[in-house]
């Protein structure tokens, strides 16, 4: 009996810790009213700035957020990014302190809580583990370099909410809008970093070459002296694109950029971050079985804001 009581105490300690974690994260998790009758969630990541789920912002006028304090505060949409399903809102009247970001990276198997506030004052939570850490992955609007998957239940309106660890620190921003309703989260380091250009200029700059490609197997003997077995066959060249200007031709097989092997489209997308816009790039292609190097200037992906 004494042993059983001890078990109860120990389990209570864990239980208390989980409730503490929710309580700790709670004030930085807000309700976001950006579409009719279906509120979503958001996370205060910096003073007066909120990260929300892009897909849950269906209007730019009459945006409001609600905190634990209850009354709606007017919010302004300052940026949105389809690739990560993130949007940044500015809320001048917001006084609640920002969320704490987890310092380490998420580990598969660790306990997590999904926390959202679709019901206004009432905070909601569900428990699970980190089921997978994956990426880069193709999404609606481009490529997301990394994502977390969880088996914690994403209740309706949880998109934009926080995936937290057992200490209440934010591991990621939840969304069901990236992969067919699955509960994913944009890792906190990625989300915080993307939020910076979103808040400053309204979009996330992403490098663009203007090619359509598909991965192909390179026949042995046509690898131009390289060992790489797959490359990207150029099947499309956008008019007035960096690729066209740089001399790429349909039928070229792209094998490397700046010396890094590119075996699939995801690798190339991940390579073309916003910091490469305007920079020169050495593109290695196989043309007629021989290796050629072309100099390109990375462009900015058009249609950036939506």
């Amino acid at each position: 009996m004494a042993h059983a009581a001890h078990a109860g105490d120990a389990l209570s300690t864990l239980s208390d810790q989980l409730a503490d974690a929710v309580e700790h994260a709670g004030p930085a998790v807000v309700q976001v009213n950006g579409r009719p009758r279906r509120p979503s969630s958001g996370v205060i990541y910096a003073p007066t700035l909120v990260l929300a789920a892009e897909h849950a912002i269906e209007r730019e006028d009459d945006l409001t957020i609600e905190t634990v304090a209850g009354s709606p505060l007017p919010a302004q949409l300052v940026g949105r990014d389809l690739a990560s399903d993130l949007a940044v809102l500015r809320v001048p009247g917001l006084t609640a302190p920002p969320a704490t970001a987890a310092s380490g990276s998420a580990r598969v198997g660790q306990f997590v809580l999904a926390v959202g506030r679709p019901g206004g004052r009432e905070l909601m939570a569900s428990i699970g583990i980190v089921s997978a850490v994956g990426g880069p992955v193709r999404t609606r609007g481009g490529t997301l370099e990394q994502y977390l998957r969880t088996d914690a239940t994403p209740y309706p309106g949880f998109s934009g909410g926080a995936l937290i660890d057992a200490r209440g620190a934010v591991l990621g921003i939840l969304t069901t809008g990236l992969a067919g309703g699955a509960a994913l989260a944009v890792p906190v380091a990625v989300a915080w970093r993307l939020a910076e250009p979103l808040a400053r200029q309204g979009y996330v700059p992403r490098g663009w070459l203007g090619i359509g490609s598909q991965p192909v197997r390179i026949p042995a003997g046509q690898r131009g002296g390289r060992t790489q077995e797959t490359g990207l066959l150029i099947v499309e060249l956008a008019p007035d694109s960096p690729a066209l200007r740089g001399g790429l031709l349909l039928g070229d097989i792209l094998v490397a950029v700046d010396g890094q092997a590119m075996e699939d489209g995801e690798a190339l997308q991940a390579f073309l971050g916003g910091d490469r816009v305007g920079r020169p790039l050495a593109v290695q292609v196989l043309r007629g079985g021989a290796l050629a190097t072309l100099e390109l200037t990375v462009g900015q992906r058009p249609g950036r804001a939506r």
């Binding site: 059983a4 109860g8 120990a10 209570s12 864990l14 929710v22 809580l113 939570a125």
Partner: protein, 201 residues
């Protein structure tokens, strides 16, 4: 040796706690056979008293029976029911059951551990775990007004009705009642049951 699958000592420690807490409370959890063939849950409230859901026993065509985990079966009869609260009090004459430790649902916090014991889809004595997802009020379908409910992410199915929602100490903090939209379980708070039984809160 498989470094990936090997549980850490801490995790192994936590894993051992659930069965211990459960073992302590199990004699106070019963299976109620009333309306359906599969049976539902029930919580022992007194030596001869069991609380379950109204919808578990309403319109039962067969004689009510209460089964304890040790396999004993007892005849039972309805003492009182509330359709509005979906609660029923059963009398189990001569049963000498072990009353469950009843917790105060008012003290529950969002995120704290809870677990449910029931008989989902007729599978006997199934335990599911989760956390308190929300505490609040919910409109009752087809009825006027709102009721206080505990919402949790424990996995429930038909057959969990009337069974206990337990906290980490193994105290009954609610009576599992229904599932909304597949992933939200609703329980009647223990304080509401107390109040209905005239125990105050």
């Amino acid at each position: 040796m498989s470094p990936v699958l090997e549980a850490t000592p801490a995790a192994a420690g936590w894993a051992g706690l659930f069965p211990e807490v459960l073992h302590r409370v199990q004699p106070s959890i019963v299976r109620v056979h009333g309306r359906g063939p599969a049976g539902a849950g029930g919580v022992v409230w007194g030596p001869e008293a069991v609380v379950t859901n109204h919808h578990v026993v309403a319109g039962a065509r067969q004689a009510l029976r209460v089964l304890s985990v040790d396999g004993r079966a007892h005849a039972a009869r309805i003492l009182d029911t509330s359709r509005r609260l979906d609660l029923a009090l059963l009398e189990v004459p001569g049963a000498e059951l072990v009353p469950a430790p009843i917790g105060r649902s008012a003290r529950l916090r969002v995120g704290e551990l809870v677990f449910a014991v029931g008989h989902p889809w007729g599978q006997p004595w199934v335990v599911t775990a989760g956390v308190v997802s929300a505490l609040g009020t919910l409109p009752v379908p087809g009825r006027a007004g709102v009721e206080t409910f505990i919402r949790s992410d424990v996995r429930l199915a038909p057959g969990n009705s009337g069974g206990p929602l337990l906290d980490a100490r193994g105290q009954v903090v609610g009576l599992n009642t229904m599932v909304i939209g597949g992933d939200l379980a609703v329980a009647i708070p223990s304080d509401v049951v107390r109040q209905w039984l005239g125990e105050g809160s």
